[in-house]
Subunit: 429 residues, 2 copies
């Protein structure tokens, strides 16, 4: 844990980047291993996927596709109580994301000039879902539902099988609820390769979203260009704006909820009250002892908890805007007024009862959010990530003739005479 | 030039990827050279920028910032006639892009539950503009105006100086018209590094847009994560849907307007009429002889012109959707009806007079468009590239209490007990 006494003139973006820097998990070794897997699967298709699945997941599969019976079984195992919770969460996520849907339009801008934008869902997407101990059905909902709301006709989930060839039932149940059209038992870099290039049994997708380990992240980075990707997610993080009006027990609990995710998770408290920061630190240390994931949370807190002591609430907002946290909790009273001054944050949780885990599971806004300061230039995952625009242009003969000379002048200035000729040949006709 | 007789059952995405494949310009040597420049500028700032500018651009600069007097001089050199054309093009671009502005909203979804989205412009962006022979004022307008319309308060242009320390006056004039707030005489990988990391005299930006050579593209790829980037643009391309209703002279001229851009530019004609394709080919060969940039256009046509002969217009649309061209001209009669069936294209030009150069310079929609098939998953540059969203969430005590149990159940299923405790401590209070 580090305390930073912010000087009265504030800090710069370069200061904040240095203070909040965490190592990237990438390495040259991982790059080479992943490059080899990608090339092999692009070349040899299903046979290569089968071999890697045997090697890395310890199971020899004849078919990668999850059957309807396996999904029915998963729903039974999950049970009606939790299925109802999944359905309710899915309904909340759907309701929020429906507000992001945009409509194709075309308008007459001038006589004879019609311009517009056509919105089309991406025709097929892949959702990567990690397996093993980190099986998060909430992430399946959050990554799949926006694609479904966008109208993507074909949504394929890729997830690693267990040694017995099964998939975690909570993942299957969540994928089913969220509207996935296929689920493949292919994980790791081989899953990303199969999605991007396609194989004999797996049609290729146009975009891949979802989190994964360092191999998955590297594979996504390397297939980017052939397909779209959502983002290379860093470890999770929360920023809290609070002073003595807030409850230090609750603030500490929220910091620990973030810290338990990952040894590299980061928590940022920005407060005008050193006394309040002291109370939160004491509470963090006390509550840590009660956590099953104490080891992970303790390492995150030790290395990546930063408490900034500032001169006033306005400076607190300035510092938080430089941090650009993935999650921001505003525990100042009158949270909404302070939210108006926030320019950089993935999601803003306002008021004492809007604890961050509400957003992870249930409220509706997406929990796949920009990390590591990237909220300064990027957005939560949304319907807009599964839809693309095509510009629409139509000039009639008169409108064309009216601007032809200007277009030719422009082409001439840029030294592109064939551009000018494409115009001139229509005039000279 | 290659003719492809499409079989009656059509082609697959993998077929199309193979047929339309062009080499990437990247190399391991370029990566290493650029990595060294980035590290050096991150470390040594202005001194390193000055050295690289001396080495690569042949000029020793004391200050990188373009002065108001230099801009005034540029406006004089460009002259009132072309300034008026620039202003008119800028007004058209502004009018179209204003349709992309979105408003912050927050609504009550259930009693005690308020959710919304806050739209904030990125606080500072860099626009890269290549120098030398490829000085395109249209690109300055297209890359800068959406940022300006988005409300980005600080827009810095980076462009390489000539040996005498000057910048092309058309670039300066266009940057001025478009609303750039600063222009720096720093190009190449050193320009991208200065923008991403900042130096003593150049504040860092949060996102970098704009085209460049292989060094610039590699630098953008490597700083991605520290800052946002628009896209790694490939060589330009056009697809044309046409049959005997279209004028082969005009179609040929449009193909050549694309081909003159770049030896790696690609043109795709998809037509149900082999006879029409033959007329277009003959016209292309005839018109080629008249072009000042004949060498470039001829190489592009020879290597990267693909004429697909299909069984009917519906199959033509299917093939074009697999190609996902950057620019698409629909020269079938009743273009708008056919446009409705297009799912993948950067910009759609409808009807015989809507030649692609209209869109390059003047009509208003952006000319920075997804290339190399990426229109299947990405969009034209727009205001949305300069704005990001923050989700807004607020639960009051009652709304929180009503869902607390469900959130704890979810946390428990995912094995994240500290998430559950963040909820429980608020209930137990």
């Amino acid at each position: 844990m580090e305390w930073i006494d912010v000087p009265s003139e504030g800090l710069t973006l370069r200061d904040i980047r240095r203070i909040t820097k965490r190592d990237q998990a990438e390495s040259e070794d991982i790059r080479k291993a992943v490059e080899a897997i990608l090339a092999d699967i692009e070349q040899r298709g299903d046979a290569a996927v089968r071999e890697y699945t045997k090697r890395f997941d310890g199971v020899d599969l004849d078919s990668f596709l999850v059957s309807p019976e396996e999904i029915d079984d998963a729903v039974d195992i999950v049970g009606p109580d939790f299925m109802a919770i999944l359905e309710e969460a899915a309904a909340n996520i759907r309701a929020y994301h429906e507000r992001q849907v945009e409509q194709t339009w075309i308008d007459t801008f001038r006589p004879g000039v019609r311009l517009g934008a056509k919105f089309t869902p991406i025709q097929r997407v892949g959702v990567y879902v990690p397996g093993g101990t980190a099986a998060y059905p909430s992430t399946v909902l959050m990554d799949t539902i926006p694609a479904h709301v966008a109208g993507v006709p074909s949504i394929a989930v890729f997830t690693p099988p267990a040694k017995d060839g099964s998939v975690n039932p909570y993942i299957l149940a969540a994928a089913h609820v969220a509207g996935a059209t296929e689920i493949y038992k292919v994980g790791g870099a081989q899953g990303i390769a199969a999605a991007a290039y396609g194989t004999e049994s797996i049609p290729p997708v146009f975009k891949i979203v979802g989190p994964g380990n360092a191999y998955v992240a590297m594979a996504k980075r390397l297939v980017f260009g052939t397909v779209g990707i959502d983002m290379i997610a860093g470890p999770s993080e929360v920023g809290v704006l609070a002073d003595h009006d807030a409850n230090p027990v609750w603030v500490a609990a929220d910091l620990l909820a973030q810290a338990e995710h990952d040894r590299r998770a980061a928590v940022f408290l920005v407060t005008p009250s050193a006394a309040f920061a002291g109370e939160v630190e004491a509470e963090v240390r006390r509550q840590l002892e009660e956590l099953p994931r104490k080891d992970i949370a303790a390492e995150s807190i030790e290395k990546h908890a930063k408490f900034f002591i500032v001169k006033d609430k306005d400076q607190a907002v300035d510092i938080m805007n430089l941090i650009a946290p993935e999650h921001l909790e505003i525990a100042f009273s009158d949270a909404e007024t302070w939210a108006k001054k926030i320019v950089n944050a993935g999601a803003i949780f306002m008021g004492p009862y809007t604890t961050e885990p509400l957003g992870d599971y249930f409220a509706g806004p997406n929990h796949t959010l920009p990390t590591m300061g990237t909220a300064a230039f990027s957005s939560p995952l949304g319907v807009y990530d599964f839809v693309k625009r095509s510009s629409l242009l139509e000039y009639d003969k008169d409108a064309f003739t009216a601007v032809a000379d200007k277009v030719m002048r422009f082409a001439n200035v840029e030294g592109l005479q064939a551009h000018g000729l494409a115009v001139r040949r229509r005039i000279d006709e």
